[in-house]
Amino acid sequence: GIPAPVVYFVDYVTNSVYLEDIADSVTVQDHINSVQRNGNDTSSLLVLGEKMGELLAKMHDEDLIHGDLTTSNILMRPPMEKLDLVLIDFGLSFVSGLPEDKGVDLYVLEKAFLSTHPDTEMMFKALLKSYAAASKKSGPVIKKLDEVRLRGRK
């Protein structure tokens, strides 16, 4: 139940994977940039953050770690208002039930967020709040996230 491109064909000879093309999609990264540039409705970004939190909660509850969470690895299908998100690029993914791995997954996203998108602290906060509410196993994960954050600063 995680939205991701459909796998059409795996070619073991050339080691290629043929995937669905999400037509006319925009990365969350480009979307945030364009909303901020246009001085647009930034409260819509909070709702987007919530949607992202819900999606990541679902993924982590299935014990799937993305491994490379950034705003350019989440696509939005048109129309943008629908907030129809698609996760892509699972090249570094793995399966794990450990809160540490999930915490790190979120930490990577947080770092990517704050370094690529200035002034999005509120958006990420909304993301985490929504994640905590949507995930059945979020307590230990958020705890680990806090620990990792402290480790990162040393």
């Binding site: 139940g1 459909v6 795996v10």
Partner: protein, 175 residues
Amino acid sequence: MDLPHRLELFPDCSVTLLLFNHVKNAAALRKKAMEGSIEGALINPAMIVDPFQILVAANKAVHLHKIGKMKTRTLYAEIIFNLSPNNNISDAFKKFGISDNDEALLIVLVVDREKTVNLEDIISQVEGQQVSLDELPQLTDIVKVKKVYKVTPQEEKIGTLVDSIVCRMSTKDVL
């Protein structure tokens, strides 16, 4: 009637789908298919939700045929096998191939550009009415499809049924 589909990755190959209803000689046709005396993959249309499902199966079959790595003995058997979400060949034939009492039939033909296939010849062997592919949805048994492919309600909220099916078809040898 319905145009042949060219495979993007194998442009010399074209796939033609012929749909029949009110078929009276399914048993005889099945026998011919097993003997190899009829051209085409004889498929149960109740298990097919979209022509794309067939194209994905055909694409993989052609690919494996070209590199000599098919799991079954013929291209047409391989197409039927590829439709299955698991790796049990006889189960695939039972579920996706035609059975003696079937009244509807989907014939899939894969033709190389240089070869011509006599469609009329094949059509004449079927004691039934050829109908447009547009009628396929009416022949699909959605409940059975979901059961065989084990599609969950959460998946259905995220994507289409074809999406779920194609994913299982294309990744079954990895899992």
